[in-house]
C-alpha cells in the first residue's frame, strides 16, 4: 500500500513538474539540466540495497551539480506498477533511468522500446536492448574474502548464513564463501537459514539467534538489515556486514563488510549521456573495477588473517585467483567443476546447486 501512495504522489507531482517544465522549456533552451531518474524497490532508509543506490544518486548530484536533476521513486513493487513508474519517468523528460532491481527487467525493456531516445540502466538483469544496458557487481568476490576470514576465525567450524531467497545471486555467494573458507578449514560447515525476505530486521535477527544457538560462531548474511550483525555483537561472536559498512551496529563483531559501490558507475554513465557517448553494454564488475568494496577490517581480525584476506583480494584483482576454480563438488559429492577449470560467467549466473559443506 505504501507503494501506491508513493506512486500516486509521484504521478501527481511529476504531472505538475512536467507541466511547469513544458511552459518553462519554451523560454529557456540552453541551461536545461540533464534529468536522471531512479527506480528503487525498497525504501531509501533501508541501510542496505536501496540505500546503496541512493548514495550513488547523490554522488551523481555532487559530481555535476546544476547540470543534472535527479528524481527517485522508492518502494516500487516489481511487476506492473514498475512499468507505470518507469514510463512516467520517461515521459517527464528523464534522459537516463536507472531501474535498480532484478524484477524491473521486463518493465524496463517494454518502456525502453517506446522511448528510443531515453537510455536505461537495469541492475542485475540479463536482457539488453539498444537503449538498455545491464550492470551488476561480482559480490561473490567479496564473499570469497569473507570466507577466507571466516575460515581462520571460526572455532566451532560452523558458520551461520542468513539467506533471502535461493536465487542464483544468493546461491553463488554462499558457494563462493564456503569454497574460500574450506581452503583454510576443510571441515567447515555453512548452515543456511532462509528468511524468505530481503528485509525484515526482526526475523533476520531471530534467524541469527537460531544459528548461534546451533553452534555458529561466525554470522554471514544476504539480507539487508544490520539486525543479524547486531545479534552477533550481543552474543559475542563475529560476522560480516552487508551492502554498507555496518560497524556502527557491531563495533566488535563486524570483521568486514561487503559494500555496494555504484557511485563511480552512475557518475560515468551520467557523463556518457551528457556527452552523447552512451552505448548499450553489459557489465559485471567486481573488486578490480571498484564496484564491490570491502569495509576496513574490524578490531577482532588479527594481522595474519588480514594478510590472508588481502592475499585473496589481491589475487582476485590481479586475475590469478578465481573463487570458482575446480575441483568443486556439489553436496552429493559429484564433481561439478574439474580440477583447474573455472566456471564461466554464464554458468555462474544460473547457479542452482550448493557445494559440499553447505547445509541448506
Amino acid at each position: 500500500m505504501n507503494d501506491s501512495m508513493n506512486r500516486r504522489d509521484f504521478v501527481l507531482g511529476t504531472a505538475a513538474v512536467a507541466g511547469a517544465l513544458t511552459l518553462a522549456g519554451r523560454r529557456v533552451l540552453a541551461a536545461e539540466p540533464t534529468k536522471i531518474g531512479f527506480v528503487y524497490v525498497g525504501p531509501v532508509g533501508d541501510y542496505g540495497w536501496t540505500h546503496g543506490h541512493d548514495v550513488a544518486r547523490k554522488a551523481v548530484e555532487a559530481a555535476y551539480g546544476d547540470k543534472v536533476k535527479t528524481t527517485f521513486v522508492e518502494n516500487v513493487a516489481e511487476g506492473p506498477d514498475a512499468e507505470r513508474v518507469i514510463r512516467q519517468l520517461a515521459t517527464s523528460g528523464n534522459k537516463l533511468i536507472f531501474t535498480t532491481s532484478f524484477g524491473f527487467m521486463e518493465s524496463t525493456l517494454r518502456v525502453a522500446k517506446q522511448f528510443p531516445n531515453v537510455m536505461f540502466e537495469h541492475a542485475t538483469g540479463y536482457k539488453t536492448a539498444p537503449n538498455v544496458s545491464i550492470y551488476n557487481a561480482r559480490f561473490y568476490e567479496g564473499r570469497a574474502i569473507c570466507g577466507t576470514i571466516a575460515g581462520h576465525m571460526t572455532k566451532s567450524g560452523i558458520v551461520g548464513y542468513i539467506g533471502s531467497f535461493p536465487i542464483p545471486e544468493v546461491v553463488m555467494g554462499i558457494n563462493s564463501f564456503t569454497l574460500a573458507a574450506q581452503k583454510i578449514r576443510p571441515d567447515i560447515k555453512v548452515k543456511v537459514v532462509w528468511a524468505n525476505s530481503w528485509y525484515d530486521p526482526g526475523k533476520e535477527g531471530d534467524a541469527a539467534k537460531a544459528l548461534i544457538d546451533q553452534g555458529a560462531d561466525i554470522m554471514c548474511q544476504h539480507t539487508d538489515s544490520p539486525a543479524p550483525l547486531q545479534t552477533a555483537e550481543a552474543r559475542g561472536i563475529h560476522g560480516f556486514g552487508q551492502a554498507s559498512d555496518m560497524k556502527a551496529f557491531a563495533p566488535n563483531a563486524q570483521l568486514t563488510a561487503i559494500m555496494d559501490e555504484w557511485s563511480r558507475y552512475y557518475v560515468q554513465r551520467t557523463k556518457d549521456v551528457m556527452d552523447g557517448t552512451w552505448k548499450s553494454q553489459s557489465v559485471w564488475q567486481g573488486l578490480k573495477e571498484g564496484m564491490v568494496g570491502m569495509a576496513p577490517y574490524g578490531v577482532a581480525v588479527p594481522a595474519d588473517v588480514r594478510k590472508a584476506a588481502n592475499a585473496t583480494r589481491d589475487g582476485i584483482v590481479a586475475g590469478t585467483l578465481h573463487p570458482f576454480t575446480g575441483p568443486i563438488k556439489n553436496q552429493a559429492g559429484e564433481v561439478k567443476v574439474a580440477d583447474g577449470q573455472t566456471m564461466s560467467d554464464g554458468d555462474l549466473s544460473k547457479m542452482d546447486w550448493y557445494v559440499a559443506g553447505v547445509e541448506a
Partner: protein, 309 residues
C-alpha cells in the same frame, strides 16, 4: 535439544511475541469498544521511530518508551477525530493511518537511519538472573516484556471485573443502548482508541529499542497486520491474545531453528508459511467447531455511532 538450548529458544520466542502482544492487546481494547482501527502498523511505526529518536536524543530509554506510547496515542487520536468525531469510515481511515504512519515515520526517522542505540536494560538480580534456564527467562528480561504480561492481566481484569470495563464492553455491544442510559459513547471510544494507540506505540518501541535496537524504515514488516489477525484469533479475549502471540512467535522461531538443524525435509518457503497456516487453521476450527458462531465479535464493531438526537 539440551535444556540450555531450549532456554535460548524460549528467550527468542519471547522477543518475537512481545511486540505482537502489545499491539494486539491494544487493538483488542479498541475493538471491544466497537471501533475497528486498521492503523496498527502505522501506530507501531510511529512508536518505533519516536521511541528510538527520543532515546537517542535524550539518552533515556524511559523517556523514549514513554514518548513511543504518546506517539502511538497521538496517531490514534487523529484516527479518533476522523472516525469518532467526524464519523468517517473506520476501515478506510485505518488503512490511511497505516499508510500515513509508514510515510511519516520514514520522514521523521530519515536522520536516524544507521544510528546505534543502547538496547533497553535487562533485569539483573544477583543470584536469580544467573540461575540456569529459569534465570534469564524469568529474571533477565527488559521492562517492556514484564509490562506486556502485566498488561494482559490488567486488561483481562479491567474488561471482565471493573465497572469502566463493563461500560466499555456495553458501548461495543450496543452503542445506542449505552447512549440511551446516559453513557458518553464517543468519550469511551476515544479512551479505548487512545489506549490501543499507546499499546501499539509500545510494541513499536520494543522493536526499535529491544528486539532489534535500531531504526529502519518499515521495520515492523507487517507485525501490525498480524496483531490485527491475533485479535480475531483470540476471539477478543486477553489471555488468548497472549497465547496467540506466543504461539505465533513460537512457530516463526521454531521454523528458523528447524532450518538451521538441517530442515525437516520441506522447502524453506513452506516452513515460512507455517505461522500463517497455523493462524488460518485455528480460525477455521474456531469458526466451524461445536462452539460455532461464538467468535464473540463486539456487535457494534466498525459501525460509526451517530446519536439520532
Amino acid at each position: 535439544m539440551t535444556i540450555t538450548s531450549l532456554g535460548l529458544v524460549l528467550l527468542t520466542i519471547i522477543g518475537a511475541a512481545t511486540p505482537l502482544l502489545f499491539a494486539a492487546l491494544g487493538e483488542l481494547v479498541t475493538e471491544k469498544s466497537g471501533v475497528l482501527n486498521l492503523g496498527v502498523e502505522g501506530m507501531m511505526l510511529a512508536g518505533a521511530v519516536v521511541g528510538f529518536a527520543v532515546t537517542v536524543t535524550t539518552g533515556s530509554s524511559f523517556l523514549g518508551v514513554l514518548a513511543a506510547a504518546l506517539a502511538g496515542a497521538g496517531m490514534a487520536f487523529l484516527f479518533g477525530v476522523l472516525t469518532l468525531t467526524l464519523a468517517a469510515n473506520q476501515v478506510a481511515t485505518g488503512l490511511a493511518l497505516t499508510i500515513f504512519g509508514i510515510g511519516l515515520s520514514a520522514l521523521f526517522g530519515s536522520g536516524f537511519v544507521g544510528v546505534p542505540v543502547a538496547p533497553l536494560p535487562k533485569l539483573s538480580i544477583a543470584g536469580l538472573s544467573d540461575l540456569p534456564f529459569f534465570g534469564p527467562l524469568l529474571f533477565g528480561q527488559d521492562a517492556l516484556v514484564y509490562l506486556s504480561i502485566v498488561a494482559v492481566a490488567a486488561v483481562a481484569w479491567f474488561l471482565k471485573r471493573s465497572r469502566p470495563g463493563m461500560i466499555l464492553r456495553a458501548v461495543g455491544e450496543s452503542d445506542l443502548s449505552a447512549h440511551s442510559i446516559g453513557y458518553n459513547v464517543i468519550a469511551v471510544r476515544y479512551a479505548a482508541v487512545l489506549f490501543g494507540g499507546a499499546m501499539a506505540g509500545l510494541g513499536g518501541a520494543f522493536l526499535s529499542l529491544s528486539y532489534t535496537p535500531m531504526w529502519a524504515e518499515e521495520m515492523t514488516a507487517g507485525r501490525g497486520w498480524i496483531s490485527l489477525a491475533l485479535v480475531v484469533f483470540a476471539s477478543w479475549r486477553p489471555w488468548r491474545v497472549m497465547l496467540g502471540a506466543y504461539l505465533f512467535g513460537g512457530v516463526t522461531i521454531l521454523q528458523l531453528y528447524a532450518q538451521g538443524a538441517g530442515g525437516l525435509g520441506v522447502p524453506a518457503q513452506v516452513m515460512s508459511m507455517l505461522p500463517y497456516l497455523a493462524t488460518v487453521l485455528v480460525l477455521t476450527i474456531i469458526a466451524a467447531g461445536p462452539w460455532k458462531g461464538r467468535l464473540d465479535a463486539p456487535a457494534c464493531l466498525g459501525k460509526p455511532f451517530r446519536p439520532s438526537t
